[in-house]
Each structure stands twice: as structure tokens, then as C-alpha cells.
Symmetry: C2
Subunit: 417 residues, 2 copies
């Protein structure tokens, strides 16, 4: 087995991976480095065309499910066995980068061809997958394709989702299916033996640690709150402090107390007030209304419960005479990834001589839904300055190659069992 892992990893072709990355990044490019390739746009379709042209050159079969998730199948010795699947997404944010999602798809394609090039015949088939609409920027919700596949989002709800121009997912999928009449159909929930997703970290931890590979133990849980503070407007020059009900002063006190509540010497808690809006927002008028959001994440469901349940009371306790409403708008539990797959990632990384560290995913991924259907793992590589969802997103070619080598080794080992 160690020999197969080493051969698969070694067969990853750095030049091919680099060339294909540039080719894929040119579809929907903005400026020198950015990408605008929202889900189910022409750019998305052309990107799929490109990936499928690579599959066609190798003679791989392509299957698509009812939400457009696309599977490229390299047959194993026993086609009756559930396949090992790897992949990610090729849609982007409207002003995103060329690595988020794309790296995982490129690495998946590389794995299939590396197995070919190394002359490895796997027991199980190996599939590369492109999940539809991970970003959720054009059509909500995010991770749409994997959620529908895993049975966690009704297909008709996804099909009805429409963009700001009123175009629905159903309309765009119709265009996609007509464009690819020769593609086979696959049912939702088709059984996988295992799934591994490679992705850029989208955070600074690997880069700061100088470590090329993260074995992702969990995708952290997330609770969102919207806090609305209502006070009373008034003239900034004429209203004494005692007569004020200043929504901004109350909101500032709330954010300060929440910051203290969320303080974590271990730096695992993620606490962000990202949106903060003031009315009437005039320099010489006491604010009557503030709306702010709380984004709170943690890998431990117990901590999510303990701290998250104090958000509303902390706000209420700092109302300073204003009225406060706290609405919880999202409560997504943590996803613990498969321990065996994660251990295999650690082992393969060590075998091919790379340093690795355990890491928690701060962002959500298609793997979150896939993990509900089969043993699932994730491999992270560093990205520059931890930056993602911007045109500045960047990963070194060698970092992508290292991630693809680990992925090839892990998939090869899973597919031999």
C-alpha cells in the first residue's frame, strides 16, 4: 500500500497542474488575478467544458445529477463497489479568486490522471466531482449542490432560487443539460465509499506556521445573530446625556461586553461583528437605531451553546435605556470529519515527507454535506496572507502540487480497500 501511495503521489504532474490552473483561471478572469465565475453562468459552463475536455481526452465517463453536480469516473477493478470521490467547486464569488474551489477540482482531475500515469489499477472506481453553486452569491443558499445531493435541501426549493435579475436555477440548469446531451444521469444520494476535498485554507494559520498541509478535523459550527437597538433620535447639541436614549452608545457597549464574553486565550473562538448600520446616520443627530450582526463560530458544540446562548442576555444587559431585539438567524452545528480519513491524511502526508498540522475549517464547504452520506475528510493548503474571496487570493504552485500529491496518495489508499 505504501508503494501505491508513493507512486500515486509522485505521478502528480506539477507542470500539467500549473498549466491547467492558468487555463481554468482565464475563464471569467477579472484583472490579472481575479475571477468572476458565479454559479450557472456562461463562465461556469465554459469552465465545466474545459474540465470535461480533459476527462474526454482520457476517455473518462461523465455523469450529472439533477442539480448539475458533475462526476468524472475513472473505473476501478470492481465497478460494483461504491467509488471514492474527490473534488470541490468551480464557481466563484463575483470578485473572487482563482483558487477557492478550483484548486480542489484541479487536484481531483490530477489524481485521476496520476493514477493512470502511474499505472495503478484501483479496486474501487475513483471519481472527480464538481459541486454546483458552492458560493451561494448568485443563488442562495450556499453549498447548494452538495446540500441537494445529501438530501438536506429539497430539489424544488433549489430550482426555484432566483438571482437579482429573476433568473432561476431551473432555467440555468435547463441550459446546462441541453448543452451536454451526452452526459449520463446520476441519482441524488448515490453511495460513495469515501470523499476527500482539497481546498485552500482561506485563513492564515498554515502560512503563519510554515506548514504545507492541514489535516482538517472539523468544520466549525456557526451561530448568527441580528441585534436591533432602538433608542430615540434627538439634536446632538441640545439633548443632555440624561435625556438621551442613544442607540449607538448602547450598541457600542453591547459589542464591548460581547467581545469580553468571547475572549479566548486559545484563540479558537471566532467572533465577528461584520455589519453595523446606524440611523439616521447624521453627524449632529443622536442615533435612534442600530442594527448589528454577530458571527460566532467554534468547533465544539458545547462552547457554541454556552457562549451563543449568552449573546441575547449580554445585549439586553447593556441596553442603556434602549429597546433591544436579538434574532438568531443561523444555527449550524459543527461537522466532525471522519477520524479514519483524517488519520489517513496525516499518515500519507508523513509518508511523502511533508509537514502537517491538525486544523479546523473556519469556512463551510461541500464536505460538510457530503460528510452526512459517507466518511469524509479535507486537506488544506496555505494561501497567501490567509486571504480568500478577493482578487488577491493566491497559493504558490508548489503548495498546490503538495496538496495534490497528498490527495492522490489518500485517494489511492482509500480506493485500494
Amino acid at each position: 500500500m505504501r508503494a501505491v501511495v508513493a507512486r500515486a503521489a509522485a505521478a502528480v504532474d506539477a507542470a500539467r497542474l500549473g498549466r491547467r490552473h492558468l487555463e481554468l483561471a482565464s475563464i471569467g478572469a477579472i484583472g490579472e488575478t481575479g475571477l468572476n465565475r458565479e454559479a450557472l453562468t456562461d463562465a461556469d459552463f465554459r469552465a465545466r467544458d474545459l474540465v470535461l475536455s480533459w476527462a474526454a481526452a482520457r476517455g473518462y465517463r461523465v455523469l450529472m445529477d439533477g442539480i448539475g453536480n458533475t462526476f468524472i469516473r475513472r473505473p476501478g477493478r470492481n465497478e460494483a463497489l461504491a467509488p471514492v470521490v474527490t473534488g470541490s467547486h468551480i464557481d466563484s464569488q463575483p470578485a473572487g479568486g482563482a483558487y477557492d474551489g478550483a484548486f480542489g477540482v484541479l487536484a481531483a482531475c490530477e489524481v485521476l490522471e496520476a493514477l493512470d500515469d502511474a499505472g495503478i489499477v484501483t479496486e474501487r472506481s475513483v471519481e472527480a466531482v464538481i459541486w454546483t453553486n458552492e458560493e451561494g452569491s448568485r443563488f442562495q443558499p450556499t453549498t447548494m449542490g452538495s446540500a441537494v445531493f445529501a438530501g438536506r435541501l429539497p430539489l424544488d426549493q433549489a430550482l426555484r432560487a432566483s438571482d437579482t435579475a429573476g433568473i432561476t436555477v431551473a432555467t440555468e440548469l435547463d441550459r446546462l443539460f441541453k448543452r451536454m446531451p451526452a452526459v449520463g444521469r446520476r441519482e441524488f444520494g448515490f453511495p460513495f465509499a469515501a470523499c476527500v476535498e482539497a481546498h485552500i485554507e482561506q485563513g492564515p494559520i498554515l502560512e503563519r506556521s510554515g506548514i504545507p498541509i492541514g489535516a482538517v478535523m472539523a468544520i466549525q459550527g456557526l451561530r448568527w445573530f441580528t441585534v436591533r437597538v432602538t433608542g430615540e433620535t434627538g439634536h446632538a447639541g441640545t439633548t443632555p446625556r440624561v435625556a438621551r436614549r442613544d442607540a449607538l452608545m448602547a450598541a457600542v457597549a453591547m459589542v464591548q461586553r460581547l467581545t469580553e464574553l468571547m475572549a479566548d486565550p486559545a484563540d479558537v473562538v471566532r467572533f465577528t461583528v461584520g455589519r453595523f448600520e446606524v440611523l439616521p446616520n447624521s453627524p449632529n443627530t443622536i442615533p435612534s437605531d442600530v442594527l448589528f450582526t454577530v458571527d460566532f463560530r467554534h468547533p465544539d458544540a458545547g462552547v457554541l451553546a454556552r457562549l451563543g446562548d449568552q449573546v441575547a442576555s449580554t445585549c439586553q444587559a447593556n441596553a442603556l435605556g434602549c429597546t433591544v431585539s436579538v434574532e438568531e438567524t443561523l444555527d449550524a452545528p459543527p461537522t466532525v470529519l471522519d477520524a479514519d480519513v483524517t488519520e489517513r491524511i496525516r499518515r500519507v502526508t508523513a509518508e511523502i515527507g511533508l509537514a502537517q498540522m491538525d486544523i479546523v475549517s473556519g469556512a463551510t464547504h461541500d464536505a460538510k454535506y457530503v460528510a452526512l452520506t459517507c466518511p469524509t475528510g479535507m486537506i488544506f493548503i496555505p494561501c497567501r496572507d490567509g486571504v480568500s474571496h478577493t482578487v488577491l487570493e493566491y497559493a504558490e504552485p508548489e503548495q498546490m502540487v503538495a496538496g495534490a500529491r497528498v490527495l492522490a496518495g489518500v485517494v489511492a489508499s482509500l480506493a485500494m480497500e
Copy 2:
């Protein structure tokens, strides 16, 4: 003299004042109680027509200066003496009330007619004035007419000011002058013996104290700051605290420390953060930029200097790794009103049997500029809930009558000397 004061005050006609208030409030009315009568609009012109129709019925002469400030002259025994002037403005905020400014103009008209009705012949002429564009909402700056009159704002700068549609003050004044060809012209800086402006308080102090008349000792000074905090955006889920430069967290810390700096047990300091804007303002993105404003007012120039000079350093000391720029956008010193006029207001109020208290004006007024040219005082009356610059602005008819009686007595006494 006490007899003249009492006769003038008694001659104020509550029914006439109430009727005219409703009539004037109907021009530019919005809803049941609001007013949209921005400066130099048709509504402003029609409001001037109405006031001048009252003057015409009494045979008073009307004069206008080059910025449209309008003077209604009731001649005294000695026309060579500088007149005693009283008045305010009739323009409003776009969604303002029917008392701010209008009360002072109505009370001034009432003074002239009360003197007539009481058969009082004053030594000095008495004039009612309508200052142009006090509000500064359509054309900046605020208190434009009185500033030009007092030589503190160049006329051409005022004439060039344009509204959002690109229409200039010069264009609108041209319409005003053509509409009123018979009106005499008056030069800027024409000497006054004294000036008294009556106004609603626009704050809650008189109402909370249950006192009908405020003798305004000073118009407080004002310093405005714009604080720009620049951090770094990032993914809310993936960026550890140690790697963040969160502009919102820094801005919140700054506002908290400024609040502590400005804490004043005597409740004389006015400290307001009215504008607070966040970029990119997305729930799951660390804010990269915050802009907030500081509005700081105090009647004492020493306190304005001492605390105001600490705003920038307090922000710098709480930057939390962000960069901070603090720009002072306005520095208006306090205006101490004329001690003799203020003492006369106290005396007249006592003589006609009303309670009064000394008060500081939190808002700015035309009296601020007039005070640079002649002994100037202000009389405040309460307004409900201290509310102004909204359609909810309200003063009781009896409160307006009380203010007009005091004004009549004060003006009469000044005009006899």
C-alpha cells in the same frame, strides 16, 4: 419704562399669533404637523409673501439685502437712530416642524403690531427680520443669511452654493428679487442698536424644569471630528483574533474611551457619535474600514480646547493595530450673548410674572452671527419632548404667547433708549 414693557407685553394678541402660526404652517406643510420649506424654494417665497402681506396691512416698509434677508420696519420717533431688530427664519429642514424659526418670525411680527396696538411710540425704529437659509439643508452652509450680513461669509461664496439639482443661490435669489420689485434695498452690516431672537429651545431642559422662559446666556461652541479607521478585511470564520486588524473592534474601543473622556457629572458636555459607517459591512467579513464622526459641544472655550484636543490621541491610543486618521472638520467657538440684553430678558420676564431660567443654546442660530455686529440676546420657549427638526416638533400656543410677550417687553424697553 415698566409701564411700556407691561403695555407692549399685554398687547400681544394670542388669537392673532395662533391664527398666523397655522396660516404660515400651511405653506409647505407635510402631513398634519410637518413642514418642508427649504430655503429659497417656492414655499419659502410664498411664506415671505404671507409675512409681507401682514406688514403691508400695517403700512410697514420692507427692505431686503443682497442675500435676501428681509427687514420689516416700524419707524421710531427718531429714524436716524439704529433700529432694534428681532426675528429669525422661515425656512425649514426637508422634514422639519412648524416652530423652528417660524416662531421667532411670528413673534417679531407680533411685537411690531403689539407696539402699534398699545399706542407705543418708540424712540428707535423696531424691525422684524427674516434671515435667509438658516437651516443649510438645501444650500450649505447653515445660517447663510446672517453670516453674509455679518461679513463672515463672502457673498459670492454664498451665491455660488448649489443644491443637489445644481441650482444656485444666485439663481433662486434672482427669482426672489424679481418677485418683489417694490422692496427697498439694504446694505450688509447695516448698524443695529440691538437684536433679540426668540426661538424654541430644541431641547428638553425647559420642559423638564417646567419653566416657560429661558434667558439664553451663550450659544455653545462646537468641534467636529471625522475619524477614519483602516484595518484589514478577512474571513470571519477562518481568521484568528491574533491575525485580525478589525476596524470595527478598534472603532468601538475608541468610542468607549471617548465616552469616558467626555463623561461629565454636570451634564454640560454634549458628545455624540452620529455617523458610523462600516466597510464592507457584511456579516461574515471582518470590517476593513470604519468612518465615524464626533460632535462635541460646550459653552466654555477652555473645556472645548482641553477635551477636544484629546480626541485624536484617544483614537490613536485605541487603534488595536489599525491605522487611524482624525480630521477636525469644524471648530466654532462659543458665543457669549450680551449680558445687558440677557439681564433685560430676565427682568422683563419677572415683571410680567413668568418664571425663567438661564440656559445655554445647544443649537446654533442666526443670533450667533448677529452678536458679532451688535448687542444680541435670545429668548427660548419649551418644545414638546425637546424634539426639533422632525414633523413631531410642537410648542403649546400659550408657550408661544408667553415668549412673544417677553420679546415685546424686551424690544420695547430697548427701543425706548
